[in-house]
């Protein structure tokens, strides 16, 4: 499971110098049609949103009455078909807007888009002649030697191991460690964090190793190191082994065998169950939720050495959180999933997708109430966490009802800040021996 910060995607228009386009709200800007296709209009809540484009490709989505429209007929070449994702620049910093591929309902169009269309076609024909020559030269330049430069290696390995996701996983482990009862043991904490981080790096690398052709075909993942040929599969596997072995060894002998066992189990679950299952059945989401839930449990077992109720509660909270997070994210990726052959609820069982997300938002409320019952936190915790839990439940409900891009985005972004905040609140409300509920948390 991964957490993805929102970014804009870059598309390329053939043979053309692009400009940056920003998503603007409630602003009317009209520029005359020049080389750059900046055209914003806001008339009666109507707008035209451009994706960030550069060079070779462009794709746009028109928004009418707050609903997105996708064109039926692709524009004449070289203007790229909106349905078809072609990538011609290896240099493109492809960042992702997960929501962009959605199309939307409406036969109602305004004259604004058609005006824009005219402008585009004009410019398209002007540049078409220069396209071919430019294209070939450009294509030549895009070939890269598959030679590994040691300077690049740290960056490549960071991307291979999904370092940001790993950092998030390690932080949930740390939260689990900090929430566990007992005195805070720094060496154990550091070993547990390092071991978990290494295990996560290994698992992520193997995941990328398995998924090269699929990653190539999805916007979100097309710039990964193995896809771009920056590293060989052999090196990726070797790196994974070099992370997994010390990581698990550290957890088993540096912390305790239970934590080590959980580490190996999680690596196995992620690489050998979740990854292949993604293409076979929607059950992958549940398996993936368990994968996300295990790290805080590992943190807890590292501190206490046993799998008690508090550990399971923490795991339960992370487990439930995965659903609104992932289901909302996957709502905007339906086209990519369908084309790539991924079995996701958002594609095959959209109703279930939204129901499950809502169900687990509500479950979070319940789990937060269970925290003081199990002596993990004081009773202040369910009270102070109620506002954010209600808010995410409300967004989950909106997503359930509206089932559109806007509500899925809101839910997704809410989940990104909801989890860290929830964990922080848990830490501040931790039940300490002697019931000093207001003591500052020394670890953070």
């Amino acid at each position: 499971m991964a957490v993805f910060p929102h970014t804009l995607s870059s598309r390329l228009l053939t043979g053309w110098v692009g400009g940056c386009v920003w998503y603007l709200e409630r602003r009317a800007i009209l520029e005359s049609p020049h080389k750059f296709m900046h055209l914003f209009r806001n008339v009666n809540k109507q707008w035209i949103t451009f994706q960030h484009f550069n060079f070779l490709k462009r794709m746009y989505v028109t928004q009418v009455n707050r609903i997105l429209n996708q064109q039926v007929k692709p524009k004449p070449e070289p203007v790229a078909s909106p349905f078809f994702e072609k990538m011609s620049s290896g240099e493109a910093k492809a960042e992702i807007d997960e929501m962009k591929s959605l199309s939307s309902p409406s036969l109602s169009l305004s004259r604004k888009p058609s005006e824009k269309e005219l402008i585009e076609v004009e410019s398209a024909s002007v540049i078409e002649s220069s396209v071919d020559v430019g294209k070939e030269a450009k294509e030549e330049k895009q070939w890269k030697e598959m030679k590994l430069h040691l300077d690049d290696l740290p960056g490549i390995l960071a991307r291979l191991s999904k370092i940001k996701l790993t950092a998030l996983v390690v932080s949930t482990t740390s939260a689990g460690f900090a929430l566990a009862p007992g005195p805070f043991d720094w060496p154990c904490f550091l070993l547990a964090s390092l071991g978990t981080g290494l295990a996560s790096c290994a698992a992520n690398s193997i995941n990328q190793f398995f998924e090269v052709p699929f990653d190539s075909n999805m916007n979100r993942t097309k710039n990964r190191p193995l896809v771009r040929g920056q590293i060989s599969p052999l090196l990726a596997v070797s790196f994974a082994a070099c992370c997994a072995v010390p990581g698990v060894a550290l957890l088993t002998w540096g912390v305790n065998p239970l934590t080590g066992a959980l580490g190996i189990f999680n690596i196995f679950l992620y690489t050998c169950c979740y990854t292949p299952l993604k293409r076979m059945s929607i059950a992958n989401t549940w398996v993936g939720a368990v994968v996300g839930a295990v790290p805080p449990v590992m943190g807890w077992t590292a501190a206490t050495g046993s799998l008690d109720a508090g550990a399971l509660l923490l795991g339960g909270i992370l487990y439930s959180w995965q659903f609104p997070h992932f289901n909302a994210l996957s709502w905007g990726l339906r086209e990519d999933y369908s084309r790539g052959g991924y079995c996701m609820m958002s594609v095959t069982h959209p109703g279930l997708c939204r129901r499950v997300a809502l169900r687990h938002c509500l479950a979070l409320v319940g789990l937060c109430v269970a925290a003081p019952v199990l002596d993990v936190t004081t009773w202040a915790f369910p009270v102070v966490s109620l506002p954010i839990n209600l808010y995410i439940s409300y967004l989950g409900f909106r997503f359930y009802k509206d089932a559109d891009r806007k509500s899925s985005r809101k839910l997704f972004f809410c989940s990104l800040w909801h989890l860290p905040l929830l964990l922080l609140l848990m830490l501040t409300c931790k039940r300490r021996p002697g019931k000093d509920g207001d003591k500052e948390d020394a670890q953070s």
């Binding site: 429209n69 996708q70 064109q71 039926v72 007929k73 078909s81 349905f83 994702e85 072609k86 990538m87 011609s88 620049s89 290896g90 959605l102 199309s103 939307s104 309902p105 409406s106 036969l107 109602s108 169009l109 305004s110 888009p113 058609s114 269309e117 294509e139 030549e140 895009q142 070939w143 890269k144 030697e145 598959m146 190793f209 398995f210 090269v212 052709p213 190539s216 075909n217 097309k222 771009r228 040929g229 060989s232 599969p233 052999l234 596997v237 292949p276 293409r279 076979m280 339906r334 086209e335 999933y337 369908s338 084309r339 052959g341 991924y342 594609v347 095959t348 959209p350 089932a403 891009r405």
Partner: protein, 193 residues
Amino acid sequence: MAALRSGPKALRSPLCRGFAGGGSRLAPERRAERRDAAPGGASRFCPPRKSRHDWIGPPDKHSNLRPVHFYIPENESSLEQKLRELRQETQAWNQQFWANQNLSFSKEKEAFIQARLQARGLGLGAESGPKATLSAEDMADFYKEFLSKNFQKHMCYNRDWYKRNFAITFIMGRVALQRIWNKLRQKPKRTSC
């Protein structure tokens, strides 16, 4: 899947001083400098003469996969040759699958949109124009249908892909070990290379 590809396309490339892949058309001295296995089909690229590595290109417009130009060293061992051929074959197989997949997706999507719009009466209503559109929910029906239609195909592909991936990586490992072993054997003899 010929190891060396000849063709006029390679000669057209302005960057190509040493030809890659068109053995039969070249003077022998050029041929010796670099031998390559070009990816099948449309690539016009030839790597620079002095390079002794593979080259990877931009994503293919149909399959989104990046083609690789394989470098063929002069003293290529049989294991290295086996690896290269496996990689080339896998590349071609992947290319074919994904190009086909993406093209059929695109076609079926268009057909679906047309059919739906016609079912609703294209051209109906004051605001519709040449760009009538479909909602996300309508498209969702298509995505679901497409996914289930291609499910079996994907199962077979997945199985084959995993097998090939493991095989390639395993042989890569063996080649790497072989090279290390050769280097270690040569060192004490102090042969000049």
